[in-house]
């Protein structure tokens, strides 16, 4: 590779756009949260965590994200392992069907669950027809429907991350373990699982941070008492016009995603050591 001063000229237009329209606006959002009457202060954060409603929203967000990540791992791991071991052509097919939802509008994807879980949705109408229930179940606008929507939203990401790592696990390693006396289960526990950890880390970070910051799904599938951080920012800003509170929630969201990403990466490097 060459050394060249002109390279900065190539980067300059992009840099200006990112600085002016990403870095500065974000900084101003974060900065105002620490601004008090007498210099810098943490009072707004203290107020946020003292408020039981706000605290509840924060804990709910983390809880739903954690639940979503766990379910995505449980569903994604065996599926990805299966995909990584089928023939190249079949694998291509599975990848198409995972990428397709990924590229489809999140509004469409969340909406489809409204059709399934709604009062007149498939599940309720089927159960009613079978006389298993007398009144439609409330399946929508609660934490349950948010988690389903988030799992549905992010499961393809988990599968992609895992397949990417698992398809590079050499078939020879599996055969080597078998020839040394390992049963199928032991091969999985002692060879495949440890080698899949990097994909698991990437997938978990993507799903967890994605769930913490998701707006569309909780907005459409959640109800008035299932507010999460993203919908809280929107409410504070657009309904209450409380810019300061919205900024505080926004900053907390950024700090949480950074912290969680850092934590998972730390955990993984300890696992590998």
């Amino acid at each position: 590779m060459k050394k060249n001063v002109y390279v900065y000229l190539l980067l300059l237009p992009g840099l200006i756009i990112l600085l002016l329209f990403l870095a500065v606006p974000l900084f101003s959002t974060v900065f105002r949260t620490f601004q008090g009457d007498e210099g810098l202060t943490l009072t707004k954060y203290i107020a946020f965590f003292k408020d039981s409603y706000d605290r509840g929203v924060y804990i709910r967000t983390l809880k739903l994200a954690l639940l979503t990540t766990l379910i995505a791992v449980i569903l994604g791991f065996p599926t990805s392992y299966y995909i990584s071991r089928v023939s190249r052509r079949v694998r291509g097919l599975y990848i198409i069907f995972a990428v397709f939802p990924l590229l489809t509008s999140p509004v469409v994807r969340s909406f489809s669950w409204m059709v399934i879980l709604g009062k007149n949705g498939i599940i309720n109408s089927t159960l009613l027809k079978l006389n298993l229930i007398e009144e439609p179940l409330r399946l929508l606008y609660n934490e349950f429907s948010i988690v389903i929507g988030l799992v549905y939203l992010f499961l393809p990401l988990m599968i992609m991350s895992l397949v990417g790592v698992m398809e590079n696990i050499d078939e020879d390693l599996i055969e080597a373990a078998e020839s040394l006396g390992a049963t199928r289960r032991e091969v999985f526990a002692r060879v495949i699982f440890p080698l899949s950890i990097p994909g698991l880390i990437v997938g978990s970070v993507l799903v967890f941070t994605g769930s913490i910051t998701a707006y569309t799904t909780p907005q459409l599938l959640g109800g008035s008492n299932t507010t999460v951080l993203a919908t809280l920012i929107y409410q504070n800003a657009m309904s209450l016009f409380d810019w300061d509170s919205a900024s505080v929630v926004a900053t907390i969201m950024i700090l949480t995603t950074v912290f969680v990403t850092f934590l998972i990466n730390k955990l993984s490097s300890r696992l590998n050591a």
Binding site: V5, I17, G92, Y94, L103, S112, M114, Y152, G164, T213
Partner: protein, 261 residues
């Protein structure tokens, strides 16, 4: 093929059933005759598909979404291609940092970014909403452009470029005649990916709406809050058809295996 039992096969199929069935249900619901969303639908009609075009807001926001996505992608390509070229071709002080900086928009929560743009650009500096929406989208799709173009430049043999220069072509001309044609499929793929991400975006756009300005996904969200008829399902089918076409182009240019990297 070893290592896949019947249980595993069944498990994978069930998970894929979960991934696909909602989209099939929505498609089915779009072609029913009922006034309310139902599945399985009764009868078959195209009236909901036709109804999309009767809802004036859908037609208008579709145009805006299209405009923003195309303009934003073109803008991002204009600044992104030189940046990607500079980042993969040369070595310089602060390269790693700048690489990270160019990819950073993907790490910023969209809802936070959208709010910040509203706060800073629209309220503080009174920038028009439409312009803010455009720059917001340009920023969020920048990482897709940089990543895809960089990965196609990785496969580009720079000795071809040197050969052209040694034959007397200027650096600028070499870029347009030699480099660009060789990464053309990468540029197309970057365009498509960026386009999809801009077109589907909700969290940034939701803050940047104003009188007469909104995007299609935002309009769809507010529609389902008040109406529950199959028009949205029909619109979803149209969007999915669009996704299929775009996916086909990605497969032909970049290959869908890109998503597992």
């Amino acid at each position: 093929m070893k290592g896949k039992g019947k249980f595993l096969t069944l498990f994978a199929l069930l998970v894929y059933f979960f991934l696909i069935i909602p989209l099939i249900i929505i498609t089915g619901a779009a072609f029913g005759t009922d006034e309310f969303l139902k599945f399985p639908p009764r009868g078959f009609s195209l009236k909901w598909l036709a109804n999309i075009f009767k809802v004036e807001m859908f037609v208008r926001t579709f145009k805006i979404s299209l405009e923003i996505a195309v303009l934003g992608t073109v803008l991002a390509l204009l600044v992104g291609i030189p940046a990607a070229y500079g980042l993969s071709r040369y070595d310089f002080v602060g390269k790693n940092f700048l690489q990270g900086f160019f990819l950073s928009p993907v790490l910023v929560p969209g809802i936070v970014f959208g709010f910040s743009l509203l706060n800073f650009l629209v309220i503080k500096y009174e920038m028009p909403v439409y312009t803010s929406l455009l720059v917001g989208h340009t920023v969020i799709i920048m990482p897709y452009i940089i990543r895809v173009i960089s990965s196609s430049l990785e496969n580009f043999d720079y000795s071809i470029e040197e050969a052209a220069i040694s034959l007397g072509a200027s650096k600028l001309k070499t870029f347009f005649v030699i480099v660009l044609p060789n990464i053309a499929s990468g540029v197309i793929a970057a365009f498509i990916l960026a386009f999809i991400n801009s077109f589907n975006n909700v969290p940034v756009s939701i803050f940047l709406t104003g009188p007469g300005i909104s995007t299609l996904p935002i309009q769809m969200m507010s529609y389902v809050e008040y109406y529950f008829d199959p028009t949205i399902a029909a619109l979803s089918v149209v969007l999915m058809a669009m996704t299929i076409i775009l996916m086909f182009i990605i497969e032909k240019t970049l290959g869908l295996s890109y998503f597992t990297k």
